[in-house]
Amino acid sequence: MKKWGVALMLAASLVMMAGVGLADTKRVRIGISKIVAHPALDALEKGVQDGVRESWPEAVFDLQNANGDLSTAASIAQKFKAQQVDLAVGIATPTAQALVNLLKDQPVIYCAVTDPVDAGLVDSYDKGGANVTGYSDMTPVAEQIDFLLRIKPIKRLGHIYASGESNAVRLAQIARKVCEERGIEFVESTVASSAEVKQAIQTIIRRVDGVYLSNDNTVFAALPAVSEVCMRHKIPLVTADPSSARDIPVLAAWGFDYYRMGVATGRLAAEVLSGKPTAEIPTRYMTEAADMDLLVNLDVAGQLGLTIPPDLLEKANTRIENGALTEAR
């Protein structure tokens, strides 16, 4: 009796699974695997869909989210493989790695991956893989630090990053190198979770003249804490994320908009769907001036007693002055 029960159960699941294979449509199907629900990544996901729909209005999207469980990344890739999606998009490093590892015949587009070569997705920056290419979210670290230096010549730069986020670790390496080249002392502190961020900034705030934050989901979740401590100690804070700087007092934020990167990724996916081989498309970056957003908060500058050089202020497309947000362009 017992054995029959198990056999029945397994047979039933086999039949269910076989049924799945029959569900087939003629429209272009795109699977998007996202590591976790997060404002920046959600905007990115929406951008990808809008970008693809510009040339493939009929496209059907399968939006999957690993809920931060990395073991689920492989399950999602397996699902896309079984469904034979026409193209898969991996948002963030682990989901992209799982897709590249399991999908050999379908094109895979990655985005929100800082260093695709370091992440093992492609072999070189000069060309794409056999079925892999995508957008790097490498943020211009050197330019961002130089920007802070223009406003206030500092000797010691503070930086907080999550030791568990591969992108953040890579960006911190770059920031360290930039500081060495500029002859600035680099004071770093790492966190394992968002709850540790406040303590991390408090431990370094007395040893720094300025704070810089690059793209780091864990740290940005606790940006209000960083901003509060910096304001209390009158230390300028520059970040790589203009969208969070709209609500939270940050001296300046210079980076790209994740929605726009999503649209660019979607357009890239559309090119690949139209038949362009991925090997001919090297990793792309958001380097165009039009891709970048600069937000300057003049209220914060006033409280810190700093003046923004007019040429930098000229470049800012978003300003916050007397509590009001004005957008140029």
Binding site: M17, V20, A37, K81, A82, V100, N101, G164, V169, A192
Partner: protein, 296 residues
């Protein structure tokens, strides 16, 4: 696709066997798992990328997993710390250690490396790699299961069973429970780390956050297994854990596949997992009172 679910279920089934050992046999709820799973993955990835090879990767994953479990048991034994807290302490410390093992990185890719899985598929050219892997993992997991069954029939294995039931009786028989806990929790975490090492190769990367949700997965596999087949015989106990792991993977998969039909989003899956475990528990409990289970 079926083969994909089975392969994943089998890989995570090894981890579930480890959870079953501590949770059901030793009666030692162990949260080290969330740290020892990525530990195995980290050791494996470090061995492959540094060129030490697959054999050493798997061996060191087993050894390091055993050490992690032994540390938890020692914290519990010597400092009289409750099981759960001892496990959480080890798991927390393993976060830093795992990053160190991967060379101060949070993520180590294995995408274009030669792994156990690529070697196995290359050994059978001409056959569909997915089915080759399925065959390989069935043999591997059955082998581990049989070894565990045989182990539980030895004198030592019988003591483990008694230890979880009645520690006083074991003490009265002149056995030191502390030593056995070190060995037992060690074996459990060795299995978990081994599973982590295989999972890293299967999904193509090792990541410090790989352990999230592992204890829950292991518990779910154990509970669903108990719901499937009620029994006291050891070979059935271990078999149903593996079956539970496969079925749980399949259920999650279908949640992902058909969930949109009832407006379920992927972020609802965690709620579904929890409810599923409660559901299995309720049914198993009801079965114990009444006629004896779903398939008896």
């Amino acid at each position: 696709m079926i083969e994909g679910i089975f392969v994943e279920g089998l890989i995570y089934g090894i981890m579930a066997l480890g959870v079953f050992f501590t949770f059901r046999i030793l009666n030692f709820p162990d949260l080290t798992v969330d740290g020892s799973f990525p530990l195995g993955a980290a050791v494996m990835a470090a061995c492959i990328t540094s060129g030490a090879g697959i054999f050493w990767g798997l061996t060191l994953a087993l050894v390091s997993g055993w050490l992690a479990g032994a540390v938890t048991a020692e914290i519990h034994n010597r400092l009289r710390v409750p099981h759960l807290l001892a496990g959480i302490l080890t798991m927390t410390m393993l976060y830093s250690i795992n990053i160190r093992i991967m060379g101060n990185r949070a993520n180590l890719p294995l995408v274009r490396q030669e792994t156990l899985l690529t070697q196995v598929t290359q050994a059978f050219p001409g056959l569909d790699p997915a089915w080759v892997l399925l065959g390989f993992f069935i043999v591997l997991v059955l082998g581990i299961k049989v070894l565990l069954d045989l182990f539980f029939l030895t004198d030592m294995g019988l003591v483990f069973g008694a230890l979880g039931n009645n520690e006083q009786m074991v003490l009265a028989a002149g056995v030191n429970p502390a030593t056995y806990k070190v060995i037992g929790v060690g074996i459990s975490n060795a299995l978990v780390a081994f599973s982590g090492a295989l999972a890293a190769q299967y999904q193509g990367f090792s990541d410090v956050n790989l352990g999230l949700g592992m204890v829950v997965f292991g518990l779910a596999a154990v509970m669903i297994g108990e719901f499937l087949i009620p029994s006291n015989r050891i070979w059935v106990l271990t078999l149903r854990v593996v079956l539970g792991a496969i079925l749980y993977k399949a259920i999650l998969y279908f949640g992902r596949y058909y969930g949109y039909a009832i407006h379920m989003t992927p972020s609802d899956l965690k709620l579904i997992s929890g409810l599923l475990i409660i559901f299995a528990l309720v049914l198993t409990r009801r079965g114990k009172k009444g006629r004896g289970g779903l398939f008896s």
